[in-house]
């Protein structure tokens, strides 16, 4: 599905006879899938994709796309040779060839000219730069949550997506899961009456994804890993194993702890059920608990209270057992709770209710990656588009700011400004290390 200009079908047909004459002398076995047989989409109609970032979520995103018949994955990009090589092998094994190209510099990847879309799964502090440059290069993007590393970056990215007319899907895949969809439809269709309170339970602590906790001895980075570029716009810090790969998220220079990691899931679902996709709270306050030592400085236990313009209060908490993991809407007529492993309601029969076609129906996607691909073709909004992702992440950013300042934040969601608190306002953006700059 190359959308390049120049070498169109007519040009090909003019040149084809010579090519065919040459080919006749050398019989070639062409895979059936290349000819669009056996239900396969012919290569010319496939969406050409590449991926950046294969530390944790990247490989599984890529495998999901590789399983789609209408995707042709052509390249991988990472700053670390090991995951880069593994990703390349995965692609080559899938297609049975050695065509997958590797890149260390994303700018070279974007300059290829044959890509339709890119999947980006890198640490948060790189989200904005990579994504804005991707859409600026004419690419559609499957990005990860949280949307960006600061609230101001989020607005810049939303504007860039709109400016360039690109399709964006966020990795808030719960929206494509049946239980979450049904729960939100129940709430939206008034099955629990007016919502009086929302509780969003998120994980607490720091989880050792990479098995590198405690490996905080300062040393030189391995030669196979471009640490300097990995740091990118983040403030300089010396290398230690525990700082990078998967566990970066526990340090505010690169991630936002459990709060920012999960706000794009359960808070996003809360917004969806309330119809708050394009707005935000008007008040935020919070408290947090932090480690006593080590390089991880995000809250291990946190409580954030928000209030929306219509008077709906919402609590986001991690490490408080009274707030159940998942999303719970509590209304005048009952409640609905949903999590990855459960879906319950009061009254109990609500979970079995199905919303009919003549009621309010929410966007339906049964496959998050396929939804992205369908929207690449239709140019429609995905189920988790940029603005929605930005609004979910914004609540997390405001929560972090409220915890950091120790003050209640008054927020104007329409103008996206903090009211009457210049000290808090300064935390809406991040300073970039030279020579990095927010792209246009």
């Amino acid at each position: 599905m190359k959308k390049t200009r120049g070498f169109g079908r007519r040009e090909f047909l003019k040149k084809a006879p010579l090519a065919l004459a040459g080919a006749a002398a050398f019989p070639t076995i062409v895979k059936a899938s290349a000819l669009g047989r056996g239900g396969a989409v012919p290569p010319s109609d496939r969406i050409v994709m590449a991926g950046i970032g294969f530390g944790m979520q990247g490989p599984s995103n890529m495998r999901a796309f590789l399983g789609k018949s209408d995707v042709q994955w052509v390249a991988v990009c990472d700053l670390d040779d090991k995951p880069l090589g593994e990703a390349q092998k995965t692609v080559n094994d899938k297609y049975g060839n050695t065509d997958c190209k590797t890149y260390k510099d994303y700018r070279e990847l974007y300059a290829r000219g044959d890509l339709d879309a890119v999947s980006i799964a890198v640490p948060d502090h790189w989200h904005a730069i990579l994504s804005i440059e991707a859409v600026g290069a004419g690419l559609d993007v499957f990005g990860e949550k949280p949307f960006t590393h600061s609230l101001r970056e989020g607005r810049a990215l939303c504007d860039a997506v709109k400016r360039h007319g690109r399709v964006w899907q966020t990795g808030s895949w719960q929206r494509s899961e049946d239980n979450f969809h049904r729960a939100c439809e129940l709430v939206r269709n008034g099955r629990i009456g007016k919502v009086r309170r929302v509780e969003v339970g998120l994980p607490s602590g720091h989880y050792d994804f990479a098995g590198t906790f405690g490996q905080e001895k300062i040393e030189s980075p391995p030669p196979t890993f471009d640490y300097e570029t990995w740091l990118g716009p983040a403030p300089w810090s010396p290398y230690c194993v525990a700082r990078v790969h998967m566990n970066w998220r526990w340090n505010h220079d690169y991630g936002g702890g459990q709060l920012m990691d999960w706000v794009g899931h359960h808070l996003d679902i809360a917004h969806w059920g309330l119809g708050f996709d394009l707005t935000g709270p008007v008040q935020v306050k919070g408290k947090g608990e932090f480690p006593a030592t080590g390089i991880y400085n995000s809250a291990t236990r946190y409580w954030v209270e928000t209030l929306y313009a219509d008077g709906t209060p919402m609590v986001l908490a991690g490490g408080y057992p009274e707030i159940q993991s998942g999303t719970k809407w509590i209304g005048d007529l009952g409640w609905v709770w949903v999590d990855r492993g459960g879906f319950e309601s009061q009254p109990a029969h609500l979970v079995h209710e199905v919303i009919g076609p003549n009621e309010t129906r929410l966007y339906r996607s049964r496959d998050h990656q396929q939804n992205f691909l369908d929207c690449v073709r239709s140019r429609a909004l995905t189920i988790a588009p940029a603005e929605v992702a930005h609004r979910s992440a914004s609540v997390g950013h405001l929560g972090v700011i409220a915890i950091e300042t120790g003050r209640a934040i008054r927020w104007d969601p329409a103008r996206e400004t903090i009211i009457g608190d210049a000290g808090a306002e300064r935390l809406l953006a991040r300073s970039y290390r030279k020579p990095y700059q927010v792209p246009a």
């Binding site: 200009r5 810090s237 006593a292 792209p439």
Partner: protein, 674 residues
């Protein structure tokens, strides 16, 4: 708000917790609430007491910080500063000393740590020192880190000066910071930089971020004489200015920018495409015309961008020309436009979409079908039924989804009316499916009647649809089908339907009423065996006596069915029956079924006391003579985190065939016990 000191006091609190628990073994809940309040009290106390060391001492301790694990000095400093950040005198002291520290010979990691705090507390009083730091390559990054977000005119002025006084990478950073701050006074300083290598691009982006009219003019002036290399950045900056102009109501100025960029074919395609998008947005009511103009080009990327703006731009009454144009567009563009049209009033777009649904191009047909749920109506039913019953793959799925999603009760009536006309089998199946999807309960009798269809496909679909819209009164008809059919698929379908329908009976002890009635009337052993097999699916405990009695039935088939039903029982109410079967049955298959059932039942009861669960698993293990069942026991054991479970798993380590499972169980239990 709790600070990190709580972690330091946590070991003492934990000791207190253990002491209290040991002292009063009962009433765990009340102990927890007491400790919780103590924890909170400790938190409040700690928060009110900043570290007692002086700032100088804290900075000395920090000065050798290498950025690694031993960061206690950083946390102490943080607490000190945070305790004073809202107090003038305290803040001033911190600011002054941190500024000195940042310039000291402390390690880079230590100085960066101090800079993070400066970012939070620095005020105008810090600006002179920060400004001086800009001249030092070692310190410039740190200064920008603090200056860029700092509110106030003093920081503005410092950055403005830095645009001229700094060089190299620092200058680029100052330019970026000026942009981020929307520093309009920087425009005259940035404008001359646009044509300079190394700083031209950052200056263009910064001017775009500033976005004023002056910034736009500077960018436009530079663009006129720009090289191909520098044009993209200038264009990007210009477009950001245009967005600001448009938001401020100056559409003409914005349109001028976009049209200039669109006309420049030397620009990269992606930039021109963005300019095309901008043209649409800035053209106001004329945007629809721009979309048509862009769709008349042969550029697929431009088509994509234009179609992406249709819904925001084209008014409901103005969609006609797009509908007219659609069939002439390339296939990919038709697919995209159909998706956009689905958001428009039915009367405007339905004929076009219906025509597209008959296109020769599969992708176009599919896109049309996907657009129909939003705009279709009762008149669309025929086409969708035909597609659903004859197409395969994505088109069939889309037609089915459309039938289920069309809005309006007239659609329900149309479907029911079609069903009443006894259509061909394939169409009947689709009608039954759609009626269930739409939850059209008035059609339930017709759906139930389809259980007697001559077509197996229809009967199967009727069974499936009844699971959704059927009621318990349909159970007898479903039982009749289940007992008559020789087809295994129909039989299992009927079982599933009975299970669904009986769950709709509100009284749990009445759920199996119809099944019991049929059992009582049924003499045929084969039929009785099948009916007994339904009882665990229904789960009505009042039928347990029936199953127990059936264990002594004269028919071996009935006895076998009773055993299978009991061992598959979903709740612990059958635990004793299953236990007896595991212990006493002389039939090896029945004993195996019972052992499996026992293990399953123990695992199902999540709230059970773990020690009691482990005791039952010990019994189950005692019955098991094969490693397969012992593995099942070990798998279930892992759910119960207690010392007994650990002990039991340890006992299996000596058995080579199950050693791996024992180790896995021990690991799981061990983790849960931590």
């Amino acid at each position: 708000m709790r600070h990190h000191q709580i972690h330091r006091t946590a070991p003492l609190a934990t000791f207190g917790i253990v002491l209290l628990f040991v002292a009063t073994p009962g009433g765990v809940t009340s102990q927890f609430s007491i400790l919780n309040s103590q924890f909170t009290a400790a938190a409040q106390t700690a928060a009110a007491q900043p570290p007692s060391a002086s700032l100088d001492q804290l900075l000395r301790e920090l000065s050798t910080y290498d950025g690694g694990i031993d960061s206690a000095a950083w946390w102490n400093l943080r607490d000190y500063v945070y305790a004073r950040k809202d107090d003038d005198a305290g803040r001033t002291e911190c600011e002054g000393k941190l500024l000195l520290f940042v310039k000291s010979k402390a390690t880079p990691a230590a100085r960066m740590a101090a800079t993070r705090l400066l970012r939070i507390i620095a005020a105008d009083s810090a600006v002179p020192a920060l400004q001086a730091m800009l001249a030092d390559d070692r310190l410039a990054d740190l200064a920008i880190y603090v200056l860029q977000p700092m509110p106030g005119a003093a920081a503005d002025k410092a950055l403005l000066q830095a645009l001229s006084s700094t060089k190299g990478a620092t200058r680029v950073a100052a330019i970026a910071a000026a942009g981020e701050r929307r520093l309009s006074d920087a425009v005259p300083v940035l404008a001359p930089l646009l044509s300079q290598p190394n700083v031209g691009k950052p200056a263009a982006l910064a001017l775009g971020a500033i976005g004023t009219e002056a910034a736009a003019q500077a960018l436009a002036a530079a663009y006129a004489g720009a090289t191909a290399t520098s044009k993209p950045a200038l264009a990007a900056g210009s477009m950001k200015c245009a967005e600001r102009a448009l938001a401020a109501g100056n559409a003409a100025a914005a349109l001028g920018v976009y049209e200039r960029l669109w006309a420049d074919r030397a620009l990269p395609d992606a930039v021109r495409t963005a300019a095309a998008v901008g043209r649409i947005a800035a053209s106001g009511p004329g945007g629809a015309g721009v979309i048509l103009e862009l769709l008349a080009t042969s550029d697929p990327a431009v088509h994509q961008a234009a179609i992406g703006r249709v819904r925001d731009t084209v008014a409901p009454g103005g969609v006609g020309p797009l509908c007219t144009m659609l069939p002439r567009l390339p296939e990919a563009s038709q697919v995209a436009l159909l998706a956009s049209l689905s958001g428009y009033p039915r009367e405007q777009v339905l004929p076009t979409i219906l025509e597209a649904a008959r296109s020769n191009a599969p992708a176009v047909r599919l896109a049309a079908l996907r657009a129909l749920p939003a705009v279709g109506d009762a008149t669309t039913v025929s086409l969708l039924l035909e597609t659903a019953s004859t197409a395969r793959g994505p088109e069939q799925a889309a037609a089915r989804a459309a039938l289920g999603g069309l809005k309006g009760h007239a659609v329900d009536e149309a479907l029911a009316a079609r069903l009443a006309k006894k259509p061909a089998d394939d169409e009947e199946v689709e009608l039954l499916r759609a009626i269930a999807e739409r939850r059209f309960y008035p059609a339930r009798p017709a759906v139930a009647a389809a259980l007697q269809s001559a077509s197996s496909k229809t009967r199967l679909q009727a069974l499936e649809s009844l699971r959704v819209i059927g009621t318990p009164s349909d159970v007898p008809a479903v039982l009749e089908l289940m007992l008559k059919t020789a087809d295994d698929t129909e039989r299992s379908g009927a079982e599933a339907t009975v299970s669904s329908l009986t769950q709709k009976v509100s009284r749990a002890d009445q759920r199996a009423r119809e099944v019991k009635a049929r059992l009582a009337a049924e003499k045929d052993p084969d039929a009785r065996a099948r009916l007994l097999g339904l009882l665990p699916l229904v789960g009505d405990a009042s039928t347990l006596p029936v199953l127990r009695a059936a264990l002594d039935d004269t028919s071996p088939d009935v006895r076998d069915a009773a055993v299978r039903a009991l061992t598959a029982w979903p709740t612990h109410e059958a635990r004793d029956d299953i236990f007896r079967l595991a212990r006493d049955s002389r039939n090896e298959t029945h004993r195996l079924l019972a052992i499996h059932g026992l293990i399953r039942i123990i695992g199902v009861d999540r709230y059970r006391d773990p020690q009691a669960a482990v005791a039952d698993l010990r019994l189950a293990a005692g019955f098991a003579w094969r490693p397969e069942e012992q593995k099942l026991v070990l798998g279930a054991l892992g759910q119960f985190a207690c010392k007994d479970a650990l002990e039991m798993a340890t006992g299996f380590l000596q058995e080579p065939e199950v050693k791996a499972e024992a180790q896995a169980a021990m690991e799981r239990i061990g983790k849960a016990l931590k």
